[in-house]
């Protein structure tokens, strides 16, 4: 059957057409042999455009097609589905990436971007001329998911996956679950504390027989791909056996002579080398911090469950998908940024929240009573210079909520908010209303004229040219200055490196597309959830966890998964069996067979992964990889080389 090729060139709104002359690309495509139609579309991925392509196929106008649009990582499955819905084999379609690799990459050079797009489309047309129908191959999947991070997003994803009938391995690098939410007292919008919420999620996790939770556990290696990952997990021991009596543990902690900075309270308190962050924190067994333990033996005398013989373990697990929910770190201000680490009463928002949580009768800092609090917003977010240009989203609401709760707990506090415009979006606007009603003062400045923190007569003064009062200079004598710090990506861990997860400009993990594929990554089978993806509040993190759980489930829900039938093929006429291909294949997919008295190589299609490592080693060029044949690749090269 002769080829009747359709070429559809997407404007992507104006993402492509602002820099690439799509009409020129269309006109060039139209002139190519076998091309029967060439169209431009505002959004090729839109329903109406998909229907148009389907009609063209079903009406017999075309029998193969080229889409010139964004990266195939985003929409290859979309247009493969279009082909299938129209009754066409999905390998009769070829994609040209004219957005990421033309319009965006060369938006400084419109003529160059257009010339390149023309060539990329011509190369795709050259390839589709060789396209033939091929059927997918099915592989066995591991019906299990690894969830990394047992914060609220990770725990919610784990329970959601388990409810769908999937085995879940939930690993947490720390020795206690809950992530950042465990550190928060009363949460916005609900009257429950972070501790309450974490406890509820933890109970769901431990009650579910399909979830295996490992704490002190870290991903150290991963191999394989969607449907079949092999991962290695390193588990650091607690050095304390289970079922330890509470009183004995309390005494063991009490007698420990080592005191170190307590990260759980953001360094405002100290903890022992044997510790738990708060008495009811899960898992209930404390842990010994071996980096700081001096092995003095005092705890062993108080508690018979202390066990220094416990050893680090490495376990191997097979899973079909990996869901990453590793959360965020709070921004740490630079020394001197709004007086941080210069003046002793300048602290960060997380420190303030812990301070409010651990103080009972009076709000005190460094032994002095706090009555007047100045909050400086957007510290580490919405920065003019540097990488943190984004808004951290949660800080306005959480600060106002924390101020209201502090006011309820400790009376006669005065609150002064030095803002850059309040962003208490959605239902959180009620906090702003409530705080304003209480008489909390909101001042505002532009980004180029931030508030100033200074010392006057041993007092800390915050000064602003308030744009809400015609730039009047207002000074506040503050007992405590709270820097409202935003979210930054977790700095520790090798997860990005091990899983090869790309990060965006903001250095958070990157989804494929924030609207169309918001929890998928370019690494097939790996999904992301929660604040590891970008600033999110608790509600948003849980929503994204549920979404990622569904997506991960889709990779493991069946016994088998269809994979691309891109496999190596042996030309029996050319092959003389030398064994080089079998030696090159890392999957033992090539074997020697006798075909009508001739020894040749044979490829096991279900084992072949389509890597193509066997191709260049064949001395007689008897191996072709489907969709990457010499004809296809060399025609594309020829077209790309000959500029019009």
């Amino acid at each position: 059957m002769s080829k009747k090729i359709g070429v559809y060139i997407c404007r992507c709104g104006c993402n492509i057409s602002d820099y690439v002359d799509v009409e020129k690309v269309r006109a060039s495509a139209e002139k190519e042999a076998d091309v029967v139609l060439a169209k431009t579309m505002v959004f090729a991925c839109a329903d109406s455009s998909q229907k148009e392509i389907i009609n063209d196929i079903q009406n017999g106008v075309i029998n193969s097609f080229v889409i010139a649009s964004c990266s195939p990582k985003l929409h290859l499955p979309t247009f493969q589905a279009v082909a299938e819905r129209a009754g066409l084999n999905k390998y009769e379609y070829v994609h040209a990436n004219i957005r990421e690799q033309a319009s965006w990459a060369h938006s400084d050079d419109k003529e160059g971007a257009t010339a390149k797009a023309v060539q990329l489309v011509r190369a795709a047309i050259a390839k589709v001329r060789f396209a033939t129908a091929i059927e997918p191959i099915e592989i066995q999947t591991q019906q299990a998911v690894l969830v990394i991070g047992a914060g609220v997003a990770g725990m919610k994803a784990a329970t959601s996956l388990a409810k769908m009938g999937v085995k879940v391995y939930l690993i947490e690098k720390e020795h206690f679950i809950g992530g950042r939410v465990a550190q928060w007292d009363v949460l916005c919008l609900t009257e429950e504390t972070g501790k309450d919420l974490v406890t509820r999620f933890y109970n769901d996790v431990v009650m579910d027989k399909d979830i295996t939770l490992f704490t002190g556990a870290e991903l150290i290696e991963s191999s394989g791909s969607k449907g079949n990952f092999k991962v290695k997990i390193k588990i650091t021991p607690r050095y304390i056996k289970d079922f330890c009596e509470k009183e004995k543990m309390r005494r063991a902690i009490e007698v420990c002579p080592v005191e170190v900075i307590d990260d759980f309270n953001f360094s405002i308190t100290k903890r022992k080398a044997i510790y738990h962050n708060f008495p009811s924190q899960y898992p209930l067994v404390a842990v010994i911090d071996m980096k700081n333990c001096t092995r003095c033996g005092k705890c062993e005398k108080e508690c018979d469950k202390i066990d220094f013989s416990q050893k680090e373990k490495i376990i191997e697990i097979d899973v079909g998908s990996i869901l990453v929910a590793t959360g965020f770190d709070p921004y740490t201000p630079r020394k001197g940024e709004f007086g941080y680490e210069e003046y002793d009463n300048v602290i960060t928002l997380p420190q303030f929240k812990r301070l409010v949580a651990i103080n009972d009768k009076e709000l005190k800092w460094n032994g002095r009573q706090v009555k007047t609090i100045a909050y400086i917003y957007c510290v580490g977010s919405r920065q003019l210079e540097g990488e943190n240009k984004y808004c951290s989203r949660y800080c306005c609401s959480t600060t106002i909520c924390a101020a209201i709760k502090a006011g309820e707990k400790f009376h006669d506090l005065s609150h002064f908010h030095f803002t850059r415009g309040i962003r208490t979006y959605g239902k959180q606007e009620m906090f702003f209303y409530e705080a304003s009603k209480q008489g909390q003062v909101f001042l505002q400045s532009f980004e180029d004229e931030p508030p100033r923190v200074m010392r006057k007569n041993d007092r800390t003064i915050v000064c602003i040219n308030d744009i809400l009062t015609n730039r009047r200079e207002i000074e506040v004598d503050a007992d405590l200055v709270v820097l409202v710090t935003g979210m930054v990506p977790r700095s520790h861990g090798r997860i990005s490196e091990i899983l090869k997860l790309p990060r965006g400009r903001d250095r958070f993990f990157n989804e494929i597309h924030m609207k169309l594929r918001p929890v998928e990554t370019v690494i097939d089978g790996v999904t992301i959830a929660g604040a590891c993806q970008g600033p999110q509040n608790v509600v948003e993190a849980i929503n994204s966890a549920l979404s990622a759980a569904i997506k991960s489930y889709s990779f493991v829900s069946r016994d088998t998964l269809q994979v691309e039938p891109i496999v190596a093929e042996i030309d029996a006429g050319l092959c003389t069996w030398c064994g080089a291909c079998a030696k090159a294949c890392p999957f033992d997919a090539v074997t020697q067979i006798n075909l009508e008295g001739k020894e040749i190589a044979s490829v096991n299609m279900t084992v072949c992964k389509g890597c193509g490592m066997c191709l260049p080693v064949c001395p007689v060029n008897a191996i072709q990889l489907k969709t990457f044949s010499d004809d296809e690749v060399e025609k594309m090269i020829g077209v790309l080389a000959q500029e019009l």
């Binding site: 690799q101 060369h106 050079d109 090869k500 990060r503 370019v522 389509g610 890597c611 010499d630 060399e634």
Partner: protein, 131 residues
């Protein structure tokens, strides 16, 4: 505007590792010369020397293999195998009086966008000088 004197470079990228980095270079608007064309293959150790020679015969000034390196999803042997095929191709290029410097290889991981762009700029400059 198209810089007429820019070298024509063919990049063999890999679908899962280096091509995402090249996409991200576009997303981040890390500009590189527009005469850089990419053909994505499953793995860098799948590239046949004859494809590279064909590219030179057809008029490409340079060929760059954006290799998987140690990130290859198909296994650790990729780095060595890609190295061997580059070495073999260099020998074939010498036989055909093609300057081996016109074929370059570097490992480009899925987040190595900046590194890719640096390679493209420096390779373009080197090829322009050699023209």
């Amino acid at each position: 505007m198209v810089k007429k004197n820019n070298a024509r470079i063919l990049v063999f990228s890999t679908e899962k590792i280096s091509d995402p980095a090249i996409d991200m270079a576009g997303l981040l608007k890390l500009y590189y010369p527009s005469k850089v064309y990419t053909i994505a293959v499953p793995c860098s150790s799948a590239i046949k020397p004859r494809w590279i020679l064909h590219a030179f015969n057809q008029g490409f000034d340079g060929v760059f293999i954006a290799a998987d390196g140690s990130d290859c999803p198909y296994g650790e042997s990729c780095t060595a195998k890609t190295g061997i095929l580059v070495k073999q191709t260099h020998e074939l290029m010498k036989e055909k009086n093609i300057n081996p410097a016109r074929l370059k290889m570097a490992a480009i991981c899925s987040v190595c966008s900046e590194s890719f762009v640096k390679h493209m700029k420096s390779f373009n400059e080197a090829l322009q000088k050699g023209k």
